[in-house]
């Protein structure tokens, strides 16, 4: 177990015009499960590969367990990595795959056996030890790849989209399994994914990357409830947040927001910030569950489409020229083509500056 710190790390690939990673600083506590999440090409893999020692830094430092490691070879960093395509050695059996690193390190044969068997038992792959990777299913390969990482007993586990080659059901299972293993091994873990559901379910702390910079970091709940930017708000949560243009007005000296035809009050804790922007345009963000059907209606809309999801119904409608979606109890959702009255849980909404994208 070890603390990991990235200090002002930068990366510019040769023959690339822009910096891939810029001035990235991140402190990870020992035993913490940190998920790096962001859209494709934002630099997640690059960051992880720099941590692993597979990619050189252009700037900055990396520290693991109070030791500067960015000049060290991967094997000297006390890390293990699980790759998206598993990267199992095709010509070796499962047991040989898992023990390759230990054999290179010259570890005692009996100790290698013990570790491989222990990991295999933990991962439920004991009967597969003599098979070749080709003879395994995707989920089994994934387990072997994790086993290979585990037998090294590393201070830090690195995962690069380990579940993206699995089907949805297996992905859910493996997610739970990874979480369980982390609880048990308590090793510091850095996990890269572009799937925000994975990020939300696995992480102690989520770090949202955008264009090589940290956009926001925090617990899944913090990111979900208080996104710092419009980008994070849109990226985290599924179905995605609704963004609506609004204008700040005053109604009997209290600030209010005009959204299309409707006027809604501003939550008390936002009143002061909003008051400084009377007459200006802002953007509000409402999650699908922030539309309610009980109590006095704030506005009404014609339902364009209703999707039955089982426990809830997702209705789509147009508000202030924007397509919106709301999650409603199935029995209260209006059918397609009819008018639905909606109340807005305005105390939970987010407000953004439309120019900078920052939350107000």
């Amino acid at each position: 177990m070890a603390d990991v710190s990235l200090k002002k790390v930068g990366k510019t690939y040769e023959n690339a015009s822009a910096n891939t990673i810029e001035d990235l600083s991140l402190d990870i506590r020992s035993g913490e499960f940190v998920v790096l999440v962001g859209p494709s090409g934002c630099g997640k893999s690059t960051t992880l590969r720099m941590l692993a020692g597979l990619e050189e830094l252009s700037e900055g430092e990396i520290w693991i367990a109070n030791r500067r490691v960015d000049e060290l070879e991967p094997r000297d960093r006390n890390i293990a990595m699980v790759f998206q395509n598993y990267a199992l050695y095709p010509h070796m059996t499962v047991a040989q795959n898992m023990s390759f690193g230990l054999r290179l390190a010259g570890m005692d044969k009996a100790e290698i056996r013990r570790r491989v068997e222990e990991a295999a038992k933990l991962l439920d792959i004991a009967p597969l030890l003599d098979r070749r990777p080709k003879q395994l299913s995707g989920g089994q390969r994934q387990r072997v790849a994790m086993g290979r990482a585990m037998v090294r007993d590393p201070a830090v586990f690195l995962f690069d989209e380990p579940l993206s080659n699995l089907d949805a059901k297996l992905r859910g299972q493996m997610r739970a399994e990874i979480r369980r293993l982390h609880k048990r091994l308590k090793a510091t873990t850095v996990y890269v994914t572009h799937d925000q559901v994975e990020a939300m379910t696995l992480a102690d702390r989520v770090v949202v990357l955008n264009k090589g910079k940290i956009e926001q970091q925090g617990t899944p709940q913090e990111l979900y409830e208080r996104p710092a930017t419009r980008f994070v708000a849109g990226f985290i949560g599924s179905p995605t947040m609704n963004f609506l243009p609004a204008k700040v007005v005053t109604e009997s000296t209290r600030p209010a927001l005009r959204i299309g035809e409707a006027t809604i009050p501003v939550p008390a804790h936002k009143a002061e910030t909003v008051l400084q922007r009377v007459g200006q345009d802002i953007e509000i963000g409402l999650r699908p569950e922030h539309f309610l059907v009980d109590g006095p209606a704030d506005l009404s809309a014609t339902i364009d489409m209703a999707e039955l999801l089982g426990p809830t119904t997702l209705v789509h409608f147009t508000l202030a020229g924007m397509t919106c979606s709301a999650m409603l109890p199935p029995e209260l959702a209006a059918p397609e083509g009819e008018v639905q009255s909606l109340r807005i849980a305005f105390d939970r909404m987010s407000i953004f500056d439309p120019k900078t994208g920052h939350a107000l």
Partner: protein
């Protein structure tokens, strides 16, 4: 429906059989003739009769005199050494060159690769004189090393293996680095075991090429003790006499036999090599 299929299968088989006959006929003739004396041999082809392709009136005299009178056994051994050595050196050199051209990026890598491939286009005949000057300048004329050395840097081999390396996921090497393997270890323990088939293919093609080579060994080796089989057979007749054709054919049979055995043994890889190098590239 079924009848139609049967008829089709019949025609396909017939065509294949015909093509096969065209290819096999010369070999059948060579083998059959190697068991005949000079007179029978000529009688069977003027006019051409079916007897030409069968060892009728067989005699093993040709083989007896071949092994007694000529150095064919030495030549066979020389050829085996040359072909074996050429295979080993070609595999080592081409795999390392192809690997560095695939995985190590250095300025001008593309140009280097294209230049190497261009040498592929030069006919061997055009290279004879300069090659002779270089190899004899190195003091390697009349040696077995001199016979194999110009061909071990094979552009074809480089090309074949480069394709194979490109299809190998880079993550394998990343994983091996994390497991603590260095460059050499990664190359020999992770990369090479995963390109076995292309390596075998290249080995086979090299072996065939080396075994059948004639012109270069003829040029670079004068000493009969270091001569290879193809040249030895061609030179076995004495300059003052008509060649003893039966004996020549016996020599040709002996020279071809190891190749046929090898082919039967490794046929799978051989055809694979032909198709991958031709179409898939």
């Amino acid at each position: 429906m079924k009848k139609h299929h049967m008829r089709r299968a019949f025609f396909v088989t017939l065509v294949i059989a015909l093509i096969l006959c065209c290819f096999l006929a010369p070999y059948a003739w060579i083998v059959a003739s190697s068991f005949k004396n000079q007179l029978t041999l000529f009688n069977d082809v003027t006019p051409l009769s079916w007897k030409a392709f069968l060892p009728v009136g067989g005699t093993i005299e040709n083989y007896q005199s071949l092994f007694k009178r000529t150095n064919v056994l030495t030549a066979l051994a020389n050829t085996a050494i040359v072909a074996g050595g050429q295979v080993a050196l070609t595999l080592l050199l081409c795999s390392m060159a192809a690997y560095s051209l695939t995985r190590v990026s250095f300025p001008g890598a593309k140009i280097v690769f294209v230049l190497i491939l261009l040498t592929f286009l030069l006919p061997i005949e055009a290279l004879m004189v300069p090659l002779y000057q270089v190899v004899s300048g190195l003091g390697l004329s009349n040696t077995l090393l001199g016979v194999m050395i110009p061909w071990v840097a094979s552009p074809f081999g480089l090309f074949l293996l480069k394709q194979a390396f490109e299809e190998l996921p880079v993550e394998l090497e990343d994983a091996a680095r994390i497991d603590g393997a260095g460059h050499v270890r990664i190359f020999f323990s992770i990369v090479l075991p995963n390109v076995k088939v292309p390596m075998l293919t290249l080995g086979l093609i090299t072996f065939l090429f080396s075994w059948n080579s004639f012109l270069w060994p003829l040029v670079i080796v004068q000493d009969p003790a270091n001569q290879v089989i193809q040249v030895a057979i061609a030179q076995q007749g004495s300059p003052t006499q008509l060649p003893n054709w039966g004996e020549t054919f016996a020599g040709a049979t002996v020279a071809t036999l190891p190749l046929i055995l090898l082919f039967l043994l490794l046929q799978k890889y051989f055809t694979q090599g032909m198709t991958t190098s031709g179409i898939k590239g």
